[in-house]
């Protein structure tokens, strides 16, 4: 979703257009979700952060000054909520949720329907291998790549807001992390 359409949808939603709000949610949810998932929360905590982030935006519809930057606003809000949850969890009951990312998708997406056809089986296996290799990366790479993975591709302003990284450092880290992923894939015979 490009900045101009975000701005248009945002202004319409602020004026009370529910359809514009729906489009905005659909367009930017993958970004919010990617930020949540890059922070390794439990599923329940992740769902709450996602909801809190959108509820906050509803409250701030008439207050945000730069509608074109609402993606960065959402990413930053989600990040801060994630950090709070992590802090609270450490204080109350330290738990390791390494398994969280391993669960299979619980929803049927259009892509799934496509790859269920037989001729796509090879392709499916390849995508699975890429996903597996991604999960075997180190924490920092996994966080960055999980955010970059959002659909549509987030801008660097949004990535910066999502992870608290300087915009200028994102490119080099991305290059390094994709390089590591490529090595992992090569080791597993995936070209």
């Amino acid at each position: 979703m490009d900045r101009d359409s975000i701005g248009i949808l945002f202004r319409a939603a602020a004026d009370g257009d529910a359809a514009a709000w729906k489009s905005l949610v659909e367009g930017l949810s993958p970004l919010v979700w990617a930020v949540v998932r890059s922070h390794r929360l439990t599923d329940a905590d992740g769902h709450e952060v996602y909801q809190t982030t959108w509820f906050r935006l509803v409250q701030n519809l008439t207050r945000i000054r730069e509608p074109e930057r609402v993606g960065a606003w959402l990413a930053s809000t989600a990040r801060h909520e994630c950090l709070k949850v992590l802090k609270a969890a450490r204080r109350v009951s330290p738990s390791d949720d390494a398994g969280t990312l391993d669960r299979a998708a619980d929803d049927h997406t259009p892509e799934q329907a496509v790859i269920e056809s037989e001729e796509a089986a090879v392709e499916q296996e390849r995508v699975r291998q890429v996903w597996q290799a991604f999960q075997d990366l180190g924490e920092n790479c996994r966080r960055l790549l999980r955010v970059l993975m959002a659909t549509p591709p987030p801008g660097y302003q949004e990535v910066s807001a999502a992870l608290g990284l300087a915009v200028g450092s994102i490119g080099p880290i991305r290059q390094r992390c994709l390089g590591r992923l490529r090595v992992l894939l090569a080791e597993r015979g995936v070209s």
Binding site: A13, A18, W21, K22, V25, E26, S29, P30, V32, W33, A34, R37, H47, E48, V49, Y50, Q51, T52, W54, F55, R56, V58, Q59, L61, R63, E81, K84, V85, K87, A88, R91, V92, L101, A104, A105, D106, D107, T109, E111, Q112, I115, R126, V127, R128, V130, W131, F134, L145, R146, L148, M149, A150, T151, P153, R174, Q175, L178, L181, R182, S191
Partner: protein, 144 residues
Amino acid sequence: MNDDELERELRRAGGLFDPVPSDLLQTAVEAFALRTLDAELAELAFDSLTEPARVRGEERPRMLTFHAPGLTVDLEITGGGADGRVVGQLIPPQAARIELLGRQPAALTADDLGRFVCEVVPTGPFSLRCRLAGAVVATEWVTV
């Protein structure tokens, strides 16, 4: 495969293996109905959780402060869920009807000294709509 191609492939994998849960997306779409057009927003101004950690292992209540023009809402949250409680204070002190919005909505009342109590800690995001004499103030959504 170059970096851009690899990133595209990752994007496909993410969409396939870790998509936004559809029920969650629906709650965000429906959140539009929660717009509080008539209400003044009380922004979260202080959260004890963002303060540096103090003595390890010491269980302290979570303190939240919300500011709106002319009204401050202080919350002290002890414990969690049904075993916990939320004690609130309106400043300046005044009586008000307060609606707790969230997964388990509740109606609360602030007494003449601005004090109110909720005998459970809400799970999930919540916001307080405070109906004062002549104004409505809603606290920013938070999750505790």
